[in-house]
Symmetry: C2
Subunit: 308 residues, 2 copies
């Protein structure tokens, strides 16, 4: 790979940012990487891992002279960061992000971008339940999808450059409107997280007496939820609040569907249960065909129990 950017600035460098920095280092995609973080502890880790040439707690310092600025903090910090870096961005710079909700990026970052700076919001749909720069790895993005949500009048060259970066990381890249992104991700990611947090909290609230037994018999399905519910609390607090309209909308639909199942269970309506449980299998096949379930995941999945 050849150099794509002279200088890339990361604002925040957790799991996603550090994984992308590793890709940039591995393939020599930038001459220089700078990184800002809130704590000197994180900056020390970033330096120890060799992920940045220059680090600072001052975001303005870090973006000066950068061709590409990538926001990798929790979403609630975006507005403040945009206000702080706006005046220091170089003419022609591209600003992108990795946030899991997109309408809020346009809304909170957009107004602070000076003329001549290109905002290209992005969302690499990849991750693990671990957080922090020490848990990143360059292969995180392989064969996953990245969504870009530029406004219609955005400079196409800027969009192409951000696209090329994620493609270099191994992702397929698609473009859509912010509202479409926020609806789709509300279903495929935000809803599963709310539900997982909720179900694990239900178990938590049963009290310590029952918890040991819940751990012991977690192989029957519960265990999978606990992994999702171990995700970064701050990141998820922000995603759910920033994308609240789409999340609440899909939660209402989920409520209706769950009520239907509850009613069938209460009435002993086996036909309805069988009908629903049969059609949900088709979705699984679709996921496997779409290549979003890897062979190795499938292999291990046979060890993960689904037996009552």
């Amino acid at each position: 790979m050849s150099v794509m950017f002279d200088r890339v600035a990361f604002i925040g460098m957790g799991l996603i940012g550090s994984s992308l920095a590793r890709v940039i280092r591995r393939d020599g995609l930038a001459n220089e990487i700078s990184a800002a973080a809130r704590t000197t502890e994180t900056l020390d880790t970033i330096q120890r891992l060799g992920l940045a040439d220059q680090v600072s707690t001052d975001t303005a310092d870090v973006v000066r002279g950068a061709d590409l600025v990538i926001l990798c903090t929790p979403l609630s910090a975006f507005g403040k960061i945009a206000a702080a870096i706006g005046p220091h961005l170089k003419d022609g710079a591209i600003v992108t992000d990795v946030g899991s909700a997109k309408a809020c990026v346009q809304r909170e970052v957009g107004p602070h971008m000076p003329k001549g700076v290109h905002l290209v919001p992005g969302h690499p749909v990849a991750g693990t339940e671990h957080s922090g720069p020490e848990h990143g790895f360059a292969e995180l993005f392989l064969d996953r999808w990245c969504v870009l949500t530029p406004a219609p009048d955005t400079d196409r060259d800027a969009v192409a450059k951000v696209r090329a970066l994620w493609e270099a990381a191994g992702m397929s890249v698609s473009e859509m409107t912010t509202s479409h992104h926020d609806q789709i991700l509300a279903i495929t990611s935000h809803l599963p997280h709310v539900i997982s947090y909720s179900i694990v909290d239900t178990a938590y609230q049963l009290g310590e007496d029952l918890q040991d037994e819940v751990f012991r018999y977690s192989g029957g399905g519960f265990r999978d939820f606990t992994r999702i519910a171990a995700s970064d609390p701050i990141m998820w607090r922000d995603i759910l609040i920033e994308n609240r309209d789409a999340v609440l909308d899909i939660l209402s639909r989920f409520d209706e569907d769950l009520t239907n199942l509850k009613r069938a269970i209460r009435r002993g309506d086996g036909e309805e249960l069988e009908r629903v449980f049969t059609r949900t299998r088709a979705i699984r096949r679709g996921i496997i065909e779409a290549g979003q379930e890897k062979l190795e995941d499938q292999k291990v999945s046979t060890k993960s129990s689904d037996k009552g």
Copy 2:
């Protein structure tokens, strides 16, 4: 291992039954295995796999002379099977099962057991989302828990024999009352299944236009639910109906906890969300400490996305 039973009869031989039959064959735990199934197709598969010495669609044929009879069909068939085999059971025979709800076994099988026959209901908490005898494997039970729920006056020798069989399969075995079992499993397994079926059905009902995109971006959490929601529809129809009281009770609690989260999202109450999302992490640690998350699962879990 030495021979534990002269003759073991399986009524139904799907994933669980065939896995146990493989253990019995591997370790020579029985001199003879007989198996009944509803269809000759399944019986052919069982014979082709060498999992039984004698097969029949007639359950009475299969249990004659058996020391141990294991019910491995969906729960809704138990009452009818018990009535059919009762008169043909040998004096001193042990009858057990692998069903995921236990009060119903006592209720539906118990009355058909002649004096001198020992009913020891059991539940090996292990499985995969695949069903059928061809998907079984002897290692399925390794390091998982099996729950036995004998009535207080059950012959202790009979309980000890069933315990020894599951221990030979690599399981830890515990005993508890049927109602306690049904409550615990409602939380750790039945609730996760209802929720997974429901969430995947919500996506299904969005229509085909959106489904392709749901597949594509499923890595954000949804994918894990689709695996659970691909479980055997008949088996799960029966579990939820047979254990409906405990399932509906835990669903009400879940409803309350989800309503609390929805309210926090709607109000933008980040503190409450952060508080809940932080305490759910503790549950994950408990599961890992209880040894119910294997190292290989953990390794692969880093490839399974939890990013919004």
